[in-house]
C-alpha cells in the first residue's frame, strides 16, 4: 500500500511539475519583428488606481510609436507589452519579474510603481542582466545597487523632490501670519515611499526651523483615522503634509472635516493627485492642496504633443493627465529611444544604449513631462544612486494645486498659476 502510494506520489509530482514545464521553448528574445517589453505594475490591490494610470501612459507611448513606424532601426519592428500584475506585493513582484525574464524572455522591463517592489526587483534585473526602467517608485534605495548598466530611472527620486518641497513650504510659510511655519504635522503611508516622504518633510522642517509635532505612519487602506485627526487637532500644527494613497487620502480629508479640524492639508502626490479623490469628496475637498507633477499649462514640447494631449483630454472627460501616466510615457519613450539606438532586441545592446543615452532639446522625443531631458548618472551621485536621470529641471516638474470651487487650480509656480491661492491671511 505504502509502495503504491509512494509511486503514485512520485508520478504525480513529476507529471504536475513537467506540465508546468511545457511551453518551455527556446525562443530568442525577439521573434521576427516584435520587441517584447515586460511591464510590472499593481493592477489590483491598494495601488491599483495609480498602477492603472501608469500602464495607460506606457501603453499610449507604445501605441504612438507603433503607429508611427515602430523601431525604425529594426526595420519597423513593433513594441509588444507583456503585462503582469504585482498587486503591489513584493514577493509577487519578485516572482513575476523572474517569470517575465525567464519564461516570457522579454528584452527589457518597465515598472513597477511601488517603491518596495522596485527595491526588491532591481537586484534581480541586474542579476539576470535585463535592462529595467523604473517608473515612479521614488525610493532612493532602488538605485543604490552599485554601479551597473541595467537599472535606470527617468523620473525623480525621493531626494530630488526635497529642494522643491523646500520651495513650496517656504512659499506657504510666508503666507502665514508668523511669516513661516512654526509647527508642522506629517502623516505618511507606512511603506518605502511614505517613509521617504516623511524623511523628506522632516528635513525641510529642520531647514526652516519648524517643529514637527506629529509624524504618524498610516497603514495603507486604514479604516479609521480619527485618532490621527484628533492628534493633529490638539497639536497646534499650522499645516499637515500627507504622503498617503487614494483611499486614505479620501478618508483623512473627510474625517478632518467631520472633526472640524481646519489645519491646512497639503497632499503629496499619490492619493491627492488622483482624480478619483476629488470625485469622491466633492465639497469636502474645498481648499485642500496637493502637489503633483506634469501640468500641460506649462506647455508641451511640440505641436504633435499638444495635439495628442487634446485627444487624450477628449477621451478622458477633460481630466488632466495624472502624473503616473506621464511618468509611464516618459519611461517607455526613453526605453524606445534606447532600443532605437541599439537597433536590436538584445538585452545587452539595449542596456549599453541606455548607458550612453542622452536626450535633450531637439533629440527629446514626444514628451509628456516637465523633465528637461534624459542623462543617467552612471558614475553615481552623493547618495550612492546609480543611473538616476539628472536632467530633471529645477523643480523636477513639480507644481502645487488647490481645490477651488470644486476644481483643481494651479497655484504655484506663480508664473503658471491659474488662480490665486487661498491660504493664510
Amino acid at each position: 500500500m505504502k509502495k503504491l502510494l509512494a509511486l503514485m506520489l512520485a508520478l504525480v509530482m513529476v507529471l504536475s511539475l513537467a506540465a508546468c514545464g511545457k511551453g518551455d521553448g527556446d525562443t530568442t528574445e525577439a521573434s521576427g519583428d516584435t520587441v517584447k517589453i515586460g511591464v510590472l505594475l499593481p493592477l489590483s490591490g491598494s495601488t491599483a488606481s495609480p498602477g492603472g494610470y501608469q500602464l495607460e501612459g506606457i501603453q499610449l507611448a507604445v501605441d504612438y510609436i507603433n503607429d508611427n513606424g515602430g523601431i525604425a532601426s529594426m526595420g519597423g519592428a513593433k513594441l509588444e507589452l507583456v503585462t503582469s500584475d504585482t498587486t503591489g506585493d513584493v514577493e509577487t513582484g519578485m516572482t513575476e519579474i523572474e517569470r517575465l525574464i525567464t519564461v516570457e524572455k522579454v528584452s527589457a522591463l518597465i515598472g513597477p510603481y511601488n517603491s518596495t517592489v522596485g527595491a526588491a526587483t532591481s537586484p534581480i534585473a541586474i542579476q539576470y542582466g535585463v535592462p529595467y526602467i523604473i517608473t515612479n517608485a521614488v525610493a532612493d534605495n532602488i538605485m543604490q545597487n552599485g554601479a551597473n548598466k541595467y537599472v535606470y530611472r527617468v523620473n525623480y527620486g525621493a531626494s530630488d523632490m526635497t529642494p522643491f518641497r523646500g520651495m513650496v513650504v517656504d512659499y506657504l510659510g510666508n503666507l502665514t501670519e508668523a511669516g513661516k511655519f512654526e509647527k508642522i504635522a506629517i502623516i505618511y503611508d507606512a511603506g518605502d515611499w511614505g517613509t521617504s516622504e516623511n524623511e523628506s518633510f522632516k528635513e525641510v522642517a529642520k531647514e526652516i526651523g519648524a517643529e514637527v509635532v506629529v509624524s504618524e505612519a498610516i497603514n495603507t487602506d486604514s479604516s479609521d483615522l480619527s485618532s490621527v485627526v484628533n492628534k493633529i487637532k490638539s497639536s497646534g500644527a499650522d499645516v499637515v503634509f500627507a504622503g498617503i494613497f487614494l483611499n486614505d487620502a479620501i478618508l483623512f480629508t473627510q474625517q478632518m472635516k467631520e472633526y472640524n479640524c481646519d489645519v491646512q492639508i497639503v497632499g503629496s502626490g499619490a492619493g491627492y493627485a488622483d482624480s478619483k479623490w476629488l470625485e469622491a469628496l466633492g465639497n469636502t475637498a474645498e481648499n485642500v492642496m496637493g502637489t503633483s507633477d506634469f501640468n500641460p499649462s506649462f506647455g508641451l514640447t511640440n505641436d504633435d504633443a499638444a495635439a495628442l494631449y487634446e485627444t487624450y483630454l477628449e477621451e478622458h472627460d477633460n481630466e488632466t493627465m495624472p502624473l503616473e501616466t506621464s511618468n509611464g510615457w516618459c519611461g517607455m519613450a526613453t526605453l524606445a529611444m534606447a532600443i532605437e539606438a541599439a537597433g536590436s532586441a538584445d538585452r545587452e545592446d539595449i542596456a549599453d544604449a541606455m548607458y550612453n543615452l542622452e536626450l535633450d532639446g531637439d533629440s527629446l522625443p514626444l514628451w509628456f513631462s516637465m523633465f528637461e531631458g534624459v542623462k543617467f548618472n552612471t558614475e553615481g551621485d552623493e547618495l550612492g544612486r546609480y543611473n538616476q536621470n539628472e536632467l530633471l529641471g529645477d523643480t523636477a516638474g513639480q507644481i502645487l494645486k488647490q481645490v477651488q470651487n470644486g476644481e483643481w487650480q494651479l497655484v504655484w509656480p506663480l508664473e503658471n498659476a491659474t488662480a490665486e491661492i487661498i491660504f493664510g491671511k
Binding site: V14, V90, E91, I101, T116
Partner: protein
C-alpha cells in the same frame, strides 16, 4: 511495520526530487518547484505540533518570521553565513516556542489557536512598524535587503539548483524526523496528548514536557524554513514572514493532505501549490482571488466530507479493513491515527 521497508517512499521521493531539475530547466519553473518543496517542508513541520500532538497552532508563522529575521540580521549586520545563521535561527525560535509554550500549555483547542495568532500579529505589528529592534536595524515596513555576495558559502547560489537541493534536503530531513517521532515513545505520548490531554496526564504522562518538546521541534524546523526562504529572496519583510498567509497555508496543506500522517502534508502541498503557481500564469490579475477561492472551496469540501484529510481518510478505510486483525496494538494505533473519539 518493517523498519527498512518504510524508508522506501522517502528514498523514492529523494530520487524523484533529484530528477526534477533535469526536467525543469527554466528558472521560473524551478522556483515553483522550490515553493512546492518548501511548503511540503513547512506543512510537515507544522504537522509535528498540530497533527501529531493536536496543538492547533494557527500562528506558527511566528517562527517563520523569527527564523527569517534572525538569519537576516545575523547575515546583514554581523556577516554570519546563513548556513550557520539558519541553525541559530532554529534554536532561537525553538527557545521562544518553549517560553511561549509554558504559559499557554493549559489552553485548549480554539484558545490555543487564538493565542498563537495573537502573538504572531503582535510580532508583525512590531517588526512592520519599528525600523530598529533593540538597536539593530531591521527595516520596518521597507524590509531588510541582503547584501548580494553571490557566494555559495553565504548561501547565495548562481542559479536555482542550489536552493532546490537545499530545500529538498531539508524536506527529507524533516520527513525522517517525523517518521522517527511517529515510531518512537515520544510520538506515542504526542498521540496521547492529541487524543485526550487530561486522560494522558492522569495516566502519568508529563504533558507539559512533551508539549514543550513538540513546540521546540516544530518551531526549530519552521524557523529554518523561514531563514532559507528569505535567503532565496535576499529580502525579508514583516508582512510576509509574520503574515497570516504563510501561517495559514502551512496548516491548510497539512490538514488537506491529512494531519497526523507522515505524507499528508507532502500530498497537501503537492496538490495545492502547483495550483496556485499555475493560476499565477493562467489567471493573471485574478490570480489571487482564484487561488483563494480554490483554497477555500478545498477546505470546505475536506471538512464536509473528509475531515481527516486525504491520507487520514484513506488510512481510516484501510484500518477498518484491518479491524479484523487480531493484533490489539495495531488496532489501537490505527484508531489513534484516525483521530480521537472515533467509534472504532
Amino acid at each position: 511495520m518493517n523498519s527498512k521497508k518504510r524508508f522506501i517512499p522517502i528514498a523514492v521521493l529523494l530520487a524523484v526530487g533529484l530528477l526534477v531539475p533535469q526536467v525543469l530547466k527554466t528558472e521560473f519553473y524551478l522556483q515553483s518547484a522550490i515553493y512546492v518543496l518548501l511548503y511540503m517542508y513547512w506543512a510537515s513541520s507544522w504537522n509535528i505540533l498540530g497533527g501529531y500532538t493536536g496543538l492547533f497552532a494557527l500562528g506558527n508563522g511566528l517562527y517563520i518570521g523569527i527564523g527569517a529575521y534572525v538569519a537576516a540580521v545575523l547575515f546583514v549586520h554581523f556577516g554570519v553565513s546563513p548556513w550557520i545563521g539558519m541553525i541559530i535561527a532554529g534554536l532561537v525560535a525553538g527557545l521562544i516556542s518553549m517560553l511561549i509554550g509554558y504559559p499557554v500549555f493549559k489552553l485548549k483547542g480554539i484558545y490555543y489557536a487564538l493565542a498563537s495568532i495573537a502573538l504572531m500579529s503582535v510580532f508583525e505589528l512590531i517588526f512592520n512598524n519599528e525600523t530598529s529592534i533593540f538597536g539593530i536595524y531591521t527595516g520596518g515596513p521597507n524590509g531588510l535587503r541582503f547584501t548580494m555576495t553571490g557566494n555559495a558559502l553565504d548561501m547565495q547560489f548562481s542559479g536555482k539548483e542550489g536552493y532546490y537541493f537545499l530545500v529538498l534536503a531539508l524536506l527529507i530531513i524533516v520527513l525522517l524526523c517525523s517518521d522517527r517521532i511517529q515510531h518512537s515513545k515520544m510520538g506515542y505520548y504526542f498521540r496521547g496528548i492529541r487524543a485526550n490531554q487530561d486522560a494522558a496526564a492522569s495516566l502519568g504522562v508529563n504533558v507539559l514536557r512533551y508539549k514543550l518538546t513538540a513546540h521546540f521541534i516544530s518551531a526549530f524546523f519552521t524557523a529554518i524554513g523561514g531563514a532559507v526562504y528569505v535567503t532565496t529572496f535576499l529580502y525579508v519583510n514583516a508582512k510576509t514572514v509574520f503574515g497570516m498567509e504563510l501561517s495559514f497555508a502551512m496548516m491548510l496543506f497539512c490538514v488537506l493532505g491529512g494531519a497526523n500522517t507522515l505524507w499528508g502534508p507532502v500530498i497537501g502541498a503537492l496538490i495545492m501549490v502547483p495550483i496556485q503557481q499555475g493560476l499565477r500564469i493562467a489567471a493573471g490579475s485574478n490570480m489571487a482571488a482564484m487561488s483563494s477561492l480554490i483554497y477555500g472551496v478545498a477546505l470546505c469540501l475536506v471538512m464536509l466530507f473528509i475531515p481527516d484529510g486525504i491520507l487520514g481518510t484513506l488510512k481510516d478505510l484501510t484500518v477498518r479493513r484491518r479491524k479484523r486483525a487480531t493484533d490489539p496494538l495495531q488496532v489501537a494505533d490505527g484508531a489513534a491515527n484516525g483521530g480521537g473519539g472515533a467509534d472504532d
